[in-house]
Each structure stands twice: as structure tokens, then as C-alpha cells.
């Protein structure tokens, strides 16, 4: 429901409303979604199931009664549905509660004209180090995320969850802002005169070389590897949460409780290469270090160097838009190194001099501009 529609109907976020049309009615809570059309309310299908096991049974409301079978096709839109507010309120479980970027330059966007002219962002000032950086003798893993390609589908989040045995903590814990996703897609709305712009930014551990989390860990549970990875050693962690506080990207996740793995059958779905974390330890994205190690072992057993693209992270593998590129930054010919040297490449919160392994390619937005007389749709890069 759009903000305007909600104020017109006199409902607030989380308020349960009754949608009814010709004898069918369901009660569902309101989620206010900027950018939604004012005259239209969207309801997710596929909830309110009765035989879906302990995870999905009885969750939400079934919206299928509104679907009509007309002229040989299912009509997923229903007209003249009335909305009645009820006095019940539900706290929605959302992983992001603040929707505005507060004007901070987190997601770089360029107009087509800017992109064509080649002046994207100011070249960052030369960063000064007080000490000599450590060198990485063999590899230096890096990732580049193309914000132009990202459609915000969350496939990376899910594949990460599956690959890394990340616990699913449930609605209550998400309401307490304790979701465990190692990867997330930040989404910001921009209210503009002609509507709402939405921006996505996949965010995961940036594997900073000058990592602020590492310095503060008293027990050396998080240190830097010789391949530029920010390692998290679960079995050494005592859980001070200082690293999470000191992470500017807030990508570290803490095991607040012992999330059980008691179901022997369900445990067969766990990835045997990734440790299942216990209660009270910190965890975070490792750039799928189990895949990196496996790739290195394969290559070495065969006595050959690692090929570019041979090691793929789970998020990269599942991205339908190929927005994520992963590889060795020591190899100037790798695709990730090449992308790093394109103009659109930028470093998030560069002023902190964290030297991340994860950088972004800025988004080029074509708001109906014309370049060289020809109208262009979408962006080509």
C-alpha cells in the first residue's frame, strides 16, 4: 500500500485490515511501500497454507480466493475490493526499518549524460597510511558488485544462507533486529517530485585490509589472512561483539541463542564444509572461504595455478544478473581486476580508509534522457 493510499484509508503500518469482495474476505496487516501505485493494493500470494510443515503452516492469509478464472486465464487482479481497518496491530518483521539514505553518498548514481561524458565521481584523494601495508604474496581476493546489474532479487541472500549453514531465526528474532543473513540487500527510497526512486545495494563483509573489527578483538578471533580475507574463527570467538560495533557496514552477525540443529534429516542439508556455529560467537561473510580453499587444493593437487573464474562464491553463482564478480586482484588479467579499473568503480565510505576487498560499480540511470539525439533505454553497462 502506498503512503498516500494508507493515509486515505486511515491505516498505519502494521494495522490489520480486512480486504473483502463479494463474500471473500481476509485479514492482513498493512505494509506501507513507497512507489506503489496509490490506487492499488498488492497482496502476496502463497501464504495462509494449511499443510506446509512447521515452518509455513498457518502463516499469513490466503489471498487465492481473490484470484478469478476468467476467459481461460487466472486474473491476479481484483477490482472493487473494500478495505476496512481493524483495531488490531501487528509488529511486522522487517530486516530494514529505516528507508532513507539520509542524503549520504552510499549508492553512486550517474545520469546517462554524466556517464557518457566520463566524469563520474571525484577521484579520491591519495590515502595516506601511517605504516607500510602488509603484502599479499599469492592471492588477494576481491569482489565487485555492479549496481547497474543488480535487480534486488535476493537470490544471493538465499544462496548464502544455504551455502553457509546460516540459521533461520524466525519472525520474533527478526523483529528484534537479529536476522542472521551474512549478505543483505540494502534498499533506500528517494522521494522525488515525479515519484519514488528505489536503490539497491547488496552488502556483505567487505574484507577490509585495514579492518576496524580485527583491531578490537581481544582474542585474535578475527585476523587478516595472507590472501586479503578477513577471517572469523568461530571456535576462538568469545563473543564480546566489539567487532560488530566497530564495523561501519554492520555485516557481522551474532549467535544470540543456540539455534538448534536437532533434526537429523534436516541436518543432511547442512554444508559439511562450513562449521555450524554455536551460541555466543560472531559470524560473517567469508567470501565463501571453503570454496576458495577447495579451489586452491584442486589446482595444487593438479599442480597448476588457479584460473580466473574457477572459484565462484555462492552469491556470485546464484546471481541471475551476473552483478557479482569475484576473483584474484593480484592477477591484473582477472575480470575483477579489470572491473576495479573502470570509471564506475567506487569504494563505499572511502573516507574511513578501510581498503575494502568489496567495491561497487555505480549505477547509471537513464531517466528518459537523450544522448546524441537518440533516445536510449536502460543502460548498456
Amino acid at each position: 500500500m502506498s503512503p498516500n493510499a494508507a493515509s486515505k484509508a486511515g491505516v498505519a503500518e502494521g494495522q490489520v485490515v480486512r480486504l473483502s469482495k463479494a463474500g471473500v474476505s481476509i485479514e492482513i496487516p498493512v505494509l506501507i511501500q513507497p512507489g506503489q501505485s496509490d490506487d492499488c493494493v498488492a497482496v502476496a500470494l502463497g501464504y495462509g497454507r494449511t499443510k506446509a510443515g512447521r515452518v509455513a503452516s498457518g502463516v499469513g492469509a490466503n489471498a487465492y480466493p481473490f484470484v478469478e478464472f476468467v476467459d481461460g486465464t487466472f486474473r491476479y487482479e481484483a477490482e472493487d475490493v473494500s478495505i476496512e481497518p481493524t483495531s488490531t496491530f501487528v509488529e511486522l518483521a522487517k530486516t530494514q526499518v529505516h528507508q532513507s539514505a539520509e542524503g549520504r553518498p552510499l549508492i553512486m548514481e550517474y545520469s546517462l549524460a554524466e556517464f557518457v561524458s566520463g566524469h563520474l565521481h571525484e577521484e579520491s584523494e591519495k590515502q595516506v597510511d601511517l605504516w607500510k601495508p602488509h603484502d599479499f604474496p599469492e592471492h588477494k581476493w576481491g569482489m565487485v558488485v555492479d549496481l547497474n546489474a543488480c535487480v534486488g532479487c535476493n537470490a544471493c541472500v538465499l544462496s548464502c544462507q544455504a551455502e553457509n549453514n546460516i540459521p533461520v531465526v524466525g519472525k520474533d528474532e527478526v523483529r528484534r533486529r537479529r536476522e542472521m543473513h551474512w549478505m543483505r540487500i540494502d534498499r533506500y527510497y528517494d522521494e522525488k517530485p515525479d515519484g519514488v526512486t528505489t536503490r539497491f545495494q547488496p552488502m556483505t563483509c567487505a574484507q577490509c585490509d585495514n579492518a576496524s573489527c580485527e583491531t578490537v578483538c581481544p582474542v585474535l578471533a578475527t585476523v587478516h589472512s595472507s590472501e586479503g580475507l578477513n577471517m572469523q574463527v568461530y571456535n576462538r570467538c568469545v563473543g564480546t561483539r566489539y567487532c560488530a560495533n566497530n564495523c561501519p557496514f554492520k555485516v557481522r552477525r551474532f549467535n544470540w541463542f543456540l539455534y538448534p540443529h536437532e533434526d537429523a534429516v534436516a541436518n543432511l542439508a547442512l554444508n559439511p564444509d562450513v562449521t555450524v556455529r554455536t551460541r555466543g560467537v560472531m559470524e560473517k561473510c567469508t567470501f565463501c572461504v571453503q570454496r576458495i580453499e577447495e579451489g586452491k587444493i584442486h589446482a595444487r593437487n593438479e599442480g597448476r595455478p588457479i584460473k580466473d573464474g574457477e572459484i565462484k562464491t555462492a552469491c556470485q553463482q546464484s546471481c541471475p544478473a551476473n552483478a557479482i564478480t569475484f576473483g584474484d586482484l593480484k592477477d591484473p588479467e582477472s575480470s575483477v581486476s579489470k572491473l576495479r579499473h573502470t570509471k564506475r568503480n567506487y569504494v563505499l565510505l572511502e573516507e574511513l580508509n578501510l581498503r575494502q576487498g568489496l567495491t561497487y560499480l555505480g549505477k547509471v540511470r537513464n531517466d528518459g534522457e537523450t544522448v546524441g539525439g537518440e533516445p536510449k533505454n536502460g543502460s548498456s553497462l
Binding site: L229, M231, V274, T286, V289, Q290, R300, N301, G303
Partner: protein, 195 residues
């Protein structure tokens, strides 16, 4: 008086301290399984097979150079030979029975690492680390026992000393010898084992 008592006390402390230091070489921490020697369902002798008969480790533990795990041989591997050799011995009869009932033999795992450690056999075997480096003189054991405490310190000290492994022209690894081919480093990064 008090000074004498103090002297006696200090001497006692010194003796106890010296004893502790002396004992520390054999000091065992909780969870240390060194010397674990369980009774196996079949009285299998590594001494006989690997020692006296010179059967290569990889003959039975065939995935040790290809996979993370060395692999416990299936009953059928035993029968490769034992269908001909001593088929009537009572111990072999147990294997025959297991095959007949289509159930695995329930060997007791001797050398075990906690789940928080990822150890890859193939990488170590391929780089020319002998099995005995970690498993001890298996070829002399009637019944298998754990010969290494498998503390992190053991792994780390080996990774520190065997920094360089080179391959000779045949692709066979030679530890710490100047050869051509590719340099392989044993890393001490945490993420090599803990992920």
C-alpha cells in the same frame, strides 16, 4: 620462627613448581585422546597388512589422495583378497556375514578431529606428507591407536616448518628440496582449517 617457616614455604613452592615444570611435558589437556585404542568389531591387524605384507595405505584407503577423507574401505575391498586368502577364518567370516546381510562393518573411528577443523587428506598426501607423520607407525600396530594428540599446535608447527614443497619433473612432491616446478606454501592462515 616466622622467617624459618617462610623459608620452608618458599622451598616447598620451588619444589612443587619444579615438579610441575618437569611434569608439563606429559601434561594432558581435557579432550586429549592420545593413545586411544578402541576394540574394533573385527580383529584387523595393520601390522600384518601394512607392515608384514607391505600393502600400500592407498590400496585400502583409496580416497586419501583424492578427497578430504581417507575413507574406510568397504567390506568388498577386503574380499578382493580374502575371498581367496583365509576365507574360513572366523574374523573373515564376520565380513562375509556383513556382506550377506548388506550392512556395513561398524568400525570405531580412532583418529578424529573436531567439526570446527577442516582437514583435507588429498592436499597432504599429494604434497608428499607420509601417512605416518600424523598417524604414527601404523604398520607396526596390531590394533590401531591414536599416536598424535592432534592439537592445533601440532598442525601449526608442521605448517610452519614445511613451508615449501616442490615438485620434481615427474610431478612427485619433494619436501623442502630445491627443484624446479611450482612452489607450494603451507599456510598458517586461520581460514585454511577453520571455515
Amino acid at each position: 620462627m616466622s622467617l624459618t617457616t617462610l623459608k620452608i614455604l618458599m622451598i616447598l613452592i620451588t619444589i612443587i613448581g619444579a615438579f610441575l615444570v618437569w611434569q608439563s611435558r606429559t601434561f594432558r589437556i581435557y579432550g586429549d585422546q592420545l593413545g586411544y585404542e578402541p576394540i574394533q568389531p573385527i580383529n584387523f591387524s595393520h601390522k600384518l597388512h601394512a607392515g608384514d605384507n607391505q600393502i600400500s595405505c592407498l590400496f585400502c584407503h583409496s580416497s586419501a589422495d583424492k578427497s578430504k577423507v581417507a575413507g574406510v574401505p568397504p567390506a568388498s575391498t577386503c574380499m578382493n583378497c580374502h575371498s581367496q586368502v583365509l576365507p574360513d577364518s572366523p574374523e573373515i567370516q564376520k565380513i562375509t556375514a556383513a556382506i550377506a546381510e548388506n550392512r556395513p562393518i561398524e568400525w570405531v573411528k580412532v583418529n578424529d578431529l573436531p567439526d570446527l577443523v577442516a582437514f583435507n587428506h588429498s592436499r597432504h598426501v599429494t604434497s608428499g606428507i607420509s601417512c605416518q607423520t600424523c598417524h604414527g607407525p601404523v604398520e607396526t600396530m596390531e590394533r590401531l591407536s591414536q599416536q598424535n594428540a592432534f592439537t592445533m599446535g601440532d598442525c601449526v608447527s608442521c605448517h610452519r616448518t614445511h613451508r615449501e614443497v616442490t615438485l620434481d619433473e615427474a610431478g612427485k612432491p619433494q619436501i623442502a628440496r630445491e627443484q624446479t616446478a611450482q612452489k607450494l606454501m603451507a599456510s598458517t592462515d586461520c581460514s585454511v582449517c577453520h571455515h
